[in-house]
Symmetry: C2
């Protein structure tokens, strides 16, 4: 193949990895709708790659609970439901509580600087580049848990984060007009974490989650979504 690919540093790697990132974003942001059939050939053309990378990427997404595999009948995006959302919310609260407390136990100055930086970068992108903001928002939340030094737990939290944010995207504009000042909440969490106050930090973090959680759960209940 003589075609010169424009390999942007971050999106390079292998075709499988690119497909994985692209598909995950499409599912999380709702470009691919819940329960939608994922035809290999269609995606192949859409992402301009072969069938093998697509299949492998879908396999990986299956383990992230974003895609369901039906034996001999291909793949489809995960369904959504109120029960599923509430499970995710509850698990997130429980696991992030564990992780955050452990993280604060192991806190170091380096970690402190890490979360301050992550927080600043997130705020800088606020209102400018929504796409970038979302990435940095996740980065901030993960950074809070970083020094828990538990790769598996962090992976679980990362997965749950993606599952949760998918619902937020699905709610879309419905969520906008209830935008309380999320910025304040973030700052509050950050300050408590920097102060090594695990109880306060955890309480604020969980409130932060439950706030939007309750609202979304309401939408799912009254049939606005799904």
């Amino acid at each position: 193949m003589n075609i010169i690919h424009v390999d942007v540093a971050s999106s390079a790697r292998s075709a499988t990895h690119r497909a994985y990132l692209a598909l995950r974003k499409m599912i999380v942001t709702g470009t691919l709708k819940p329960g939608e059939k994922l035809k290999i050939d269609g995606l192949r053309k859409r992402l301009d790659t072969g069938a093998s990378p697509i299949r492998e990427a879908l396999s990986l997404l299956t383990s992230d609970n974003l895609v369901e595999r039906i034996d001999q009948r291909g793949f489809r995006t995960a369904e959504i439901s109120k029960a599923n959302f509430e499970e995710i919310l509850l698990l997130r609260c429980q696991l992030e509580d564990l992780a955050l407390r452990e993280s604060i136990v192991n806190a170091t100055d380096e970690w402190e600087e890490l979360i301050v930086l992550a927080h600043h970068r997130m705020n800088r992108a606020k209102g400018k580049d929504p796409d970038l903001f979302e990435d940095l928002h996740k980065a901030f939340h993960m950074a809070l848990l970083e020094s828990a030094a538990s790769p598996i737990l962090l992976k679980f939290c990362s997965q749950l984060y993606d599952l949760n944010i998918r619902y937020r995207y699905l709610a879309g504009s419905a969520l906008d007009y209830q935008r309380r000042d999320v910025g304040d909440e973030h700052t509050g969490i950050l300050n408590a974490a920097v102060a090594r106050d695990a109880d306060t930090a955890s309480e604020r973090l969980l409130n932060h989650y439950r706030m939007t959680g309750a609202f979304l759960s309401g939408l799912l209940g009254n049939g606005t979504l799904a």
Copy 2:
């Protein structure tokens, strides 16, 4: 999600699924050693199938933390370490505690019958068919958590179970001579669960894990393993 469950009966389905089960068993039981390079071609011949099913199975195992993927350099089985083992043990205790308590909250007569049955089947296989016993042992532990009605949490627990049992296999005969009466422990957990006594059940379950855990951790520390 089909793949995760312990399907004692069905060995067929797709080539990918067969490869997944076979490879997982090989890694968990130590046939494939920690850190070992997993050459596609070698496995292809060994399992008598094509390269695509192998690759897909390895992708799935990557998400189970049993296989590591190195970009453009193939796959290898996950490394082992004392830190990794202790992380698994701790997470297991935390997550299964959550799941078991929730399971007991939701307890029904059907669930009660389910765990009694799982316990009986496990004991029946004891000392006869070690391979079958292991499957039923996992089935028993998962059945305890079953009525938590939290598929994601159960999946996490299932993964952690496999990661943990891998260390047990690696310890192998070294573990045999410290065999306290595990049967009694199982019965104790079962009874507390049937009695809907969450505190006792959880305490016994966690002790059950920590018992072998401490021993294994010792082995990893003094260099007998790895």
